[in-house]
């Protein structure tokens, strides 16, 4: 198995509306990633595209549409799609392109332009449901998260204020992120608790916003990294991915078993048997504040029901024992679905190579884990990286 490293990353601003087309956003992120790795498109063997529903950008076969902006012209190019899980999964696909020995350098480019969808990107989510069982009820996407959050809160007796702490932490962490859409240095738990109730228990500040944006990372083989004497690199030492059954109304939503399976897969590969001791920081998927807690438990970085306690005790703060979402996460930086790779894979790379600037974790970190989540509350993708 060829050893694979991340050697460059780039991302655009994340904003509710950006002027650039999807292709242009891809180009900007790709150019940054290549520049930061000191490479050009000519060095790239293959390209992986990650992007979520076509209906956001308003183009079917969206991967084909984005390919020239992503550097894929006349190259082997593939799009992978696992819902929101794409934010980390596309890097896993990039990993197997290199680890297989078929490519030395692979670009992974993720994009979402949600503002193209009118009148509101939310309407796209009407098409993710089972046409017979769910769609006649005209569900709103927030409903299922509210249901999952409620189940989690009720089973473990979690207080809403302990969940709100996640939103506060991440929006404050995002203050140091140059691309952030919703950074807020002064936000308090009360602000979250007093924000508009959307679908109880979910309130407005519990949710990450829809955004436009793109991100890119460059992966390379160990040989290539050594030959080119590339210093800024972080190794991908474990990958895992898992999908649960489609029948979400048959599952107990209190614990994300699919995340746990993906994590165990990645940890086994990375030779991690005590994740809480061996992992220094985490970038779990946080489109909602409770999801960070849910995912910390799925990643086996907290016992079941324990994540809110760790958060309350400050363990997950940037200067805590286990910093979580030092990037600011989706809650602070924004949520252009697949492009959140910028905070998940990008942030791991920047932190592990000491390039995170104002967001740099103050103590030394050697091992980080990132995770994304998608489909009908059923997909987990996990990457472990080492400095």
């Amino acid at each position: 198995m060829t050893k694979v490293g991340v050697i460059g990353a780039g991302m655009t601003l994340f904003r509710r509306r950006l002027e650039e087309t999807g292709k242009e956003l891809c180009f900007e992120a790709t150019k940054m990633a290549l520049d930061s790795a000191g490479l050009t498109r000519g060095d790239v063997d293959m390209v992986v595209c990650g992007t979520a529903p076509d209906a956001f950008d308003g183009v079917a076969m969206k991967g084909e549409y984005l390919l020239d902006g992503s550097g894929g012209y006349r190259k082997p190019y593939t799009r992978v799609f696992t819902g929101g899980g794409t934010g980390v999964f596309s890097t896993i696909a990039g990993w197997w392109h290199v680890a297989s020995g078929l490519a030395d350098v692979v670009l992974v480019v993720n994009e979402e332009k949600m503002s193209s969808c009118q009148p509101h990107p939310q309407s796209v989510f009407a098409h993710i449901w089972d046409p017979i069982l769910d769609r006649p009820l005209k569900p709103n996407l927030v409903w299922i998260f509210a249901m999952e959050m409620n189940r989690y809160m009720t089973v473990y007796g979690v207080k809403k204020e302990d969940i709100a702490r996640v939103a506060v932490k991440n929006k404050r962490n995002a203050v140091g992120h140059p691309c952030a859409q919703l950074a807020d240095p002064n936000i308090t738990v009360d602000d979250v608790l007093n924000s508009e109730v959307m679908a109880w228990p979910v309130q407005r500040l519990d949710i990450s916003p829809p955004s436009d944006g793109a991100s890119a990372v460059v992966l390379a083989s160990e040989d290539f990294i050594r030959k080119r004497r590339i210093k800024d690199r972080a190794w991908i030492s474990g990958v895992g991915w898992c999908i649960d059954s489609t029948m979400w109304t048959d599952r107990d939503l209190v614990f994300p078993e699919y995340v746990a399976r993906a994590a165990k897969h990645a940890y086994k590969m990375a030779k991690i048997d005590e994740p809480r001791r061996q992992i220094d920081f985490a970038e779990p998927y946080d489109p909602f504040d409770y999801k960070e807690l849910h995912h910390l438990e799925g990643l086996l970085l907290a016992d079941k029901g324990e994540a809110p306690i760790l958060t309350r005790e400050g363990v997950t703060e940037r200067d805590g024992k286990m910093p979580v979402c030092p990037s600011g996460g989706l809650l602070g930086v924004g949520n252009p679905i697949a492009a959140t790779m910028g905070m998940k894979i990008g942030e791991l790379f920047w932190q592990l190579t000491g390039q995170a600037g104002k967001r740099q974790i103050p103590h030394e970190v050697h091992t980080g884990v990132s995770q994304a989540w998608g489909d009908l509350m059923q997909y987990g993708s996990v990457v472990v990286m080492r400095g």
Binding site: A9, M11, T12, L13, F14, R15, R16, R17, L18, E19, E20, L25, A29, M32, G58, A60, S115, P119, H120, Q122, S123, A126, P131, I132, L133, D134, P136, L137, K138, P139, N140, V142, W143, I144, A146, M147, N150, R151, T154, P178, C179, E196, V197, M198, A199, W200, V202, G213, S245, M247, T249, D250, D252, L253, W350, T353, Q355, A356, G357, R359
Partner: protein, 173 residues
Amino acid sequence: MTARISRWPGVELSAADLNERKVTQTRFRPDAKYAWSAGEAMSRFLAELQNGRLIARSCRRCERILFPPRMFCEECFRPTDEWIFIQDTGTIETFSVSYLDTDAKRIAEPILVGVVSLDGASPKMGMMHFFGEMTKDEIRIGMRVKAEWRPPRERQGSVLDIRYFRPLRKGEQ
């Protein structure tokens, strides 16, 4: 590299830029319509809804009663075995009190929606539906409920043939 990057690309637009067409836009409404074959399991399920009944499939190997019904067992990967009627009573597994409609528009009167696990099916097997005849302060996880069916002539072979699930009345269990 955050430390060395001087420019983070992207030109932000406001809602007004778009709504007042200050930026060039092209508009397109896709012509994408579908009529899915319901298939064996869902066709029978929908037909039975019209009869005011809920139907499931059993798998002999894992001894589960699968609801919503399916022709294959995802756990054992084999065809399921028999049709079994289950009850229209159940337990609220989780719920939400929603002030959002489908398009994220705000609504004054909240929708009570959640997952009901149904009696007669294997544990946790249920469906998403609405709740009625209860207030947002009364609804709770673990509450026992029963389907409130539309009158037979109004049923169309849809999950909406059940109007909502309501609390059990006296004498019901």
